[in-house]
Amino acid sequence: MNLQETKDIFYNGLWKQNPGIVQLLGLCPLLAVSSTVVNGVSLGLATALVMALSGASIAPIRSYVPNEIRIPVFILIIAVLVTVVKYLMNAYMYGLFVVLGIFIPLIVTNCIVLARVEAFASKNSALPSALDGIAMGLGLTAVLGALGAMREIIGKGTLFSGIDLALGDMAQGWVLHVIPDYKGFLLAILPPGAFIGLGLLIAGKNWLNLRAEQKARSKPATVANASPEAAQG
């Protein structure tokens, strides 16, 4: 596989087909854990790990799995990987496990994992599939992180609260109090805040897309092939 393919995979995962704000898959964890940056990013990275592993392990066996039972087999493999990640987190990152514990099993039901396995890993070889998993996972992580930052700053006035759960006691002093003496804004922390924040993120992305499109259209003379391409994107 060449550089261009790798670039495409990452461009798709992080921006063009971003699972969080374009495909809108995996909203359950997105809305549930994005109340702080640390929670959001941690679950995002756990999902990325599961997606990379499931892509890498399903791609090599795709030709041995009969078409009729591919969905149960894929789900079985994803469930095993998620459970393994859960055990490892429980053993070696206990503080974080306590916070994210109930959401980790939900990675199995996160449709983005099965969707990528079905759409990508069942048609490609192991390396691109793993990369696709990482790219999609990082795209989701970025959205979770951005949404978490928005909700945390508006809701609690802090950033990175609970980082000591993820990185150990040495990180205890890393919490930023962005707005000193903040009384808190409950709406942002509660589930409605997640919906509103996600809506704003989607709107922001569409606005950026639209602007790029208009820019490309306004100077068709200088860039010859720009407009048909931009119209698609």
Partner: protein, 215 residues
């Protein structure tokens, strides 16, 4: 017909193969991580116990000195729980109990409490709750010091009527706008102290109860 049977058998065998493989991977991980999981759970528990039992109060291995107690209406538990005993030079000084306040604003509130041998509370902490963030969550020590009002309280000093929030005519402070949460906790702590009074001797019995614990 034969061909269909053969292909479905093949498919079934395929599925069985993956199921066996998955089971093997899962059980390997389970056994590899089991000790580390137990250890980190105990470390967290010990940290919590150290918060409510002053270290001057015990010199024993408190995590190992445990007693399983059956579900009890007074503790609000519907399962067996573990009590940890603090001892100083072999003399019982305090016991750590788990208790549940079933009537929080949004469901159950799990507590641990340490009771000194004389019936005085050494401390109470909330382990798990689903109270409204920003409103009822001042019961967490990270949010407010409210939970420390229980330190040093006992049923010798406070009668039943005092074990209520101030709004209900009792002795316990609460924050305006969230009375249901502290009301539930005060009630649960009082009931846990009654449990302690009734079972005091049993709780402190036998330093190392061998397998046949008296039920």
């Amino acid at each position: 017909m034969k061909r269909i049977a053969r292909s479905s058998l093949q498919t079934a065998a395929n599925l069985v193969f993956f199921a066996v493989l998955a089971t093997a991977i899962l059980s390997t991980t389970f056994f590899m991580t089991r000790d580390a999981i137990v250890k980190s759970e105990e470390a967290v528990k010990l940290k919590l116990i150290m918060q409510i039992v002053p270290s001057t109060l015990f010199d024993n291995d408190i995590i190992q000195d445990k007693l399983s107690i059956p579900a009890s209406e007074l503790l609000g538990t519907d399962d067996e729980t573990i009590a940890y005993r603090a001892r100083l030079k072999g003399e019982p000084t305090a016991v750590v109990l788990e208790s549940v306040a079933p009537d929080g604003y949004s469901g159950r509130i799990s507590l641990v409490l340490a009771v000194r041998a004389n019936g005085e509370l050494a401390g109470v902490r909330v382990v798990a709750h689903k109270e409204t963030p920003g409103l009822g969550d001042y019961i967490e020590l990270t949010k407010s010091t409210w939970i420390t009002v229980f330190d040093g309280k006992s049923r010798a000093a406070y009668k039943d009527a005092d074990w209520k929030v101030k709004k209900d005519g009792g002795q316990f402070e609460h924050m305006a706008g969230a009375t249901i949460t502290p009301r539930a906790i005060v009630k649960a702590v009082n009931k846990a102290l009654i449990y302690f009074e009734e079972n005091r001797d049993k709780l402190f019995a036998a330093a190392e109860p061998k397998k046949e614990e008296a039920k």
